[in-house]
Symmetry: C2
């Protein structure tokens, strides 16, 4: 038991070096698990485990039984209907990006949702077409089936160009689904831990920019080529600005009006959240009105706006993907699979963070992968999640994927029954509705200021991710961002704020010397703290800082001393100097020899330990030496390295630290390392860190232990007191602690007797 004694911290124990401590407190022998044990644990099988795996494969089995029908169902239905409507509109719009007829977009908005309902782990994302992904598929389609000229693919001649395009889109979708499924099964979804909050925020904002740009062509009604290469966003923008005078004013005005109304109503929804039973389904209202107006006033013919046009009703038979096309599109499919997953996962984690439930990257991969395979087989195209649609699903009150099912039902109704009603709808209206929901994602720009205040590196990650993803495109941009982000971890530790510590308040507290006024630094002792791991990239920095802190380079001092010693020996040999146990006796007054002649030894020799066994006494290097032999005088006799925050060393840094320790030890500076844990020392021992010079007795438990040890050693050496007899001697002493309870300025004398 430890007895609390008022508000006092009172400790009396021996000074512990690491070795002394272990002598007194025996360590238990621990069997560390080997790699084999881990493998066994991983591959072992039990009914418990099987059940857990089953549940993780079918998340629906765990959440559906806990569904609260009374309170959630209404929200889910309302949300599902709103989302379904947006899904219909977006499906139609994004099919245009794939360069296939709009009706195929509805399949992409239907099939993946069904699979995700059973297999997905996010409750809030709305699975289905995503514009950037659609553009990526569209780029492949355009590459393999150009609108003009001969088709690059060798399809049966009977099929039309549109059929060929649908075929290519479906094939790419299935292949990217297979890639996602494989990644999920192989548990490679763990890579998502490398997507930090800042990165996801920057990435989704960049995605929103891409979506914004991709919708501009519909709002302005311009013909813009599909680009998904790096830097393509600029090409698209240039293309748009050079054509700006061809803008269809009717489309632009319709879009702006709808955008304005949607923004205002969304703001109302947000502000009167508590008072409104359900948010106003503005998308639904606007679609109905816009369709009606467009039909009633015959916008198509009057203003030459582009409308959706013919909508075939019902489903089409499934197709077998073309294996030949697999070969030509493997690279693109990989990019589509990764970006699709990254977008879905990053949006899902925004909501999982907000509502605090876990999502599982591998399961998401499996759900999306199977969804894409299924969807592709039924002529849909690659699905992920749309940022705006997920925002609708969540903001209209969606609680679970039940909302997703209702949205799929809406899509189903449109597919099989009422699709034809949408035929007069302007494409620009679709685009405006899509944009109306991006506000939240774009508002993430305010993150920059917040992050700048909080953490410069995180801010940098956000900005660089955003720039990479906007400029390089989402696929390459994501890779570059992750690489950059990992680099920041190196940056963070690369220039550690090393500091010199000193004692505060004369107890066992050591703080940065610069921070407090009344500090005590024992004479000739330096306490140096490195607050980060030391490894190849910062070992030179660490060395430099250490040399700065002690004020001299130990190697230089060592060389000077060895040089001086050589000189003394040479003089002795020539009989110009006598060395007796009492000191030096000179036989000449002045030395005319030049330096060069004396140091005919190699530099390497100068770096060796100082060997004075042939001299009858120890040279005091800080005293004046005879005959103008000058060596730098150093006051330092002990150096304490506080390694409590050094979480690891690598081989490079171990070598570097050993070198510098040796240099200090060779000039008779005692080095102590404190605050390391046992494993750290074990590792050093394993790496042959210790030898005759650098011994494992340099480790002490705390700074204070080391300081006390140094003071004691100093004490006993100055009083010519033999430390080995110490244990038979008793002390009578009194400590004055300048302590006391908080808020009380008093001196409490503590008398301690042995």
């Amino acid at each position: 038991m430890i007895e609390p004694i008022g508000n006092q911290y009172i400790v009396a124990r021996p000074v512990y070096s690491k070795n002394a401590f272990e002598e007194e407190h025996k360590k238990k022998h621990r069997n560390h698990k080997t790699f084999l044990d881990h493998l066994k644990a991983c591959c072992s099988c039990s009914s418990q485990k099987a059940k857990r795996i089953a549940f993780s494969l079918f998340p629906i089995a765990s959440w559906l039984p806990a569904y609260r029908i009374k309170e959630w169902l209404l929200s889910d239905i309302v949300s599902g209907i709103s989302t379904g409507l947006v899904a219909v509109l977006q499906g139609l719009a994004f099919a245009l990006l794939v360069t296939i007829p709009p009706s195929y977009g509805l399949y992409a908005a239907f099939f993946p949702v069904i699979i995700y309902f059973f297999l997905g782990t996010s409750k809030h994302i709305s699975v289905g077409p995503f514009p950037v992904l659609s553009m990526m598929v569209g780029a492949v389609v355009t590459k393999l089936v150009p609108d003009t000229g001969t088709a690059a693919m060798n399809f049966s001649n009977s099929s039309t160009v549109d059929e060929q395009k649908v075929m290519v889109a479906a094939t790419v979708t299935v292949l990217s689904g297979i890639i996602q499924l494989a990644m999920g099964v192989l548990r490679i979804g763990f890579v998502v831990i490398y997507l930090s909050d800042s990165l996801i925020s920057g990435f989704t904002t960049a995605a929103a920019i891409h979506v914004l740009v991709s919708q501009l062509k519909f709002i302005l009604q311009l013909t813009v080529p599909a680009h998904t290469d790096p830097f393509s966003i600029f090409k698209v923008l240039i293309s748009i600005f050079t054509q700006i005078e061809d803008t269809n004013i009717a489309d632009l005005v319709t879009s702006l009006v709808i955008l304005l109304i949607v923004f205002v109503v969304k703001e109302i929804n947000q502000r009167y959240k508590a008072k409104l039973p359900v948010p106003i389904p503005i998308e639904l209202i606007m679609t109905v009105i816009a369709t009606g107006v467009s039909y009633g006033f015959d916008f198509k013919n009057r203003f030459n706006v582009t409308v959706i046009g013919q909508m075939p009703s019902g489903f089409q038979p499934p197709i077998t993907p073309d294996v030949q096309t697999f070969q030509d599109t493997i690279g693109d499919s990989f990019a589509i699979g990764i970006v699709g997953f990254a977008v879905a996962f990053s949006v899902a984690s925004v909501y999982s963070l907000k509502y605090d439930y876990p999502i599982d990257g591998n399961q998401e991969l499996i759900a999306l992968g199977l969804g894409n395979i299924f969807s592709g087989s039924f002529r849909g195209f690659a699905a992920s999640t749309s940022l705006s649609r997920s925002a609708v699903q969540e903001s209209t009150g969606g609680k679970t994927q039940i909302a997703g099912i209702f949205s799929a039902i809406i899509v189903l109704i449109v597919i099989v029954a009422i699709g034809f009603l949408l035929e007069p709808l302007q494409k620009s209206v679709l685009a405006a509705l899509a944009l109306g929901n991006l506000k939240g994602m774009l508002m993430q720009f305010t993150e920059i200021r917040r992050l700048w205040r909080k953490d410069k590196y995180d801010c940098l990650i956000w900005i660089m991710t955003f720039i990479f993803a906007v400029v390089l495109g989402l696929g390459l941009g994501l890779a570059a961002s992750v690489a950059f982000q990992l680099l920041t971890i190196v940056f963070r530790t690369q220039f550690p704020k090393c500091s010199t510590l000193a004692n505060v308040g004369r107890s066992n507290i050591y703080k940065n010397k610069k921070d407090y006024a009344d500090m005590y630094e024992p004479e000739g002792v330096k306490i140096f703290r490195c607050p980060s791991p030391i490894y190849f990239a910062n070992i030179s920095f660490f060395k430099r800082k250490l040399i700065d802190a002690v004020g001299f380079s130990p190697l230089r001092v060592l060389r000077k001393r060895n040089k001086a010693l050589k000189k003394i020996r040479k003089l002795q040999k020539k009989g110009l100097l006598q060395v007796t146990p009492k000191g030096f006796i000179f036989t000449v007054d002045d030395l005319k020899e030049s330096d060069e002649e004396l140091d005919n030894n190699q530099i390497e020799e100068l770096d060796q330990p100082i060997n004075t066994t042939d001299l009858p006494f120890q040279i005091d290097w800080n005293a004046d030496l005879p005959l103008d032999i000058v060596v730098p005088k150093i006051r330092l006799h002990s150096l304490i390295l506080d390694f409590s925050a050094v979480s690891f060393l690598d081989v490079s840094s171990m070598r570097g630290i050993k070198t510098i320790l040796q240099e200090f030890i060779r000039i008779k500076v005692d080095v102590y390392i404190v605050g390391t844990d046992d494993e750290f020392i074990e590792k050093l021992a394993r790496c042959e860190f210790f030898d005759d010079e650098v011994k494992d007795s340099i480790f002490f438990l705390t700074i204070h232990d080391a300081v006390l040890h140094i003071l004691m050693k100093k004490d006993s050496s100055t009083s010519k007191f033999n430390p080995s007899q110490e244990k038979d001697i008793k002390f009578d002493f009194t400590i004055n602690t300048n302590g006391g309870l908080r808020n009380r300025e008093c001196q409490v004398p503590v008398e301690t007797k042995f």
Copy 2:
């Protein structure tokens, strides 16, 4: 002053929370340097600084005056002659790799050495042609000036194919020199700190493999295409093995004999290093013999071996590089510049590590860059350092770049006078001599075993660097290795070995609970230590480990308690339960209501703090609750997080830690964070980490401070003792410390009185 008291660690001071400490010890206000200050310091000018810069630009100014003529000059001359001879042989051999006439290789072995003598910082590397670099230049030459068909370049028609090739090689060399110079001037040489010892070792070993493979064609006398793309090494090997039957036996035998002799003599040189005045210059001897034998027995005609052939003597006029070619070769030049620098720097650092002198990456870049520009203008090709030649220069006793100058003089003599003597020399002899010096680099394979024992990650870096550099080629391989190496820094901290601590020896020492036998863990207190920085990639791991350590999920407990509270309120409203200050009074014995009907609240509400202000007493959640209301009982009342090794947090981890702290605080577990430095806390404050729940009073200086605080709090709360009156009360107490001096098993009672 701190008085050492025998070997005793005796401390008596108040228990310090971070706030209490700062109240007693006022912090000094420190002006941290801003970015502007740093900029000023960087751009300030003084004569001192100008001198330092001048010295760093011309390293020769500092080392030449200190040159020890008497002891070094002989070694340098011997080394210079040996190296010069190897340089001649290698220059001839590597010119073959560039696909230009051998004599141009001599220029590449002459000009850069002159520049490096004045500007270089390494004392031991031998600057000049490097086989892999020569292959890279050769690939560009072959691309732009194919041997057959029309030249891709638009040179004046008067020039021959060889002249065109020399022109391209020179242009690429000048451009890569310009790139190196620019990098050096812009101080981008700092990137070399990312080349760790393990990486350099793996990289140079891979380079040795590339050289080995590149020389095979000369030893076997086969025609192999020049490849420098990724995976090209396999193509070269396949090409060699498919032609193996066309091997010229005479060349093979000559090479093997020479290789054997060189190995044996090198071994003798090594073993009798002390006894030999200078190492046997075996390369020189073998060249003379081989040339003589080849000439005497007319190998060329008798065995159809390939010999060097015609050697024009003297220099050729300088040329202006072709600016048009710059555009076509910028990418290749960049790769050549980087690889050339990386190889030179990595070899230089091997020797700088061995002989312990500093080298300067930026200065190396400037020296190599100017060397290449100079060399290219005189029809040389890109130079770096050859591993084998540098090994010769060092092993034959080279001390400084004076040896380099002598080697250049040898090359000069061959160029202007005696080149024709080498005409009958077999090319395979050149190759065998080059290989004879690779032993040291190839011996680095033994590093793998040593690194595996020392540090698994460093071993992994070595192996991956080697594989990348061999398979992907040196340029791309280097990039991949550096990226991988940075990733290992993330790996190292990604799965920290978190541990639960407990008190050892009843004083202020806390160690891993699993490590020692007689540990004391205060009841209801957990001390959790995380030994690494916490950031986006390990925050989930940290949370999981923490929950494992405490044994329950605080969020689950919070939700259960809130649910129970709802249930109680509902029962109270229905009159089935009365809540009085004394406790619950039931009016029914059994409750038939189902769980589902009760929890008609949203999950978010369940996660809010428990609000019992409407109840007349605090609920003791660990007591049995009425009416089968079950909540998990927890024994934990305090959690101490030891963050002394957490060197930084990022925004993701701060959010994660705040969430989990809140969850613990909401279920009435006091959380304390100890061991952080002040900056850490300041940063948390800046990031709005603290609020009404998570207060900045949770910080204590050490684990023991926090434990004592907890025990005192517990003590005063159980004895219904009002802590606010504490300061007026005096204690009489006795501590028994189970301490004593080392090696002495005794109990020293310490009596402390107020």
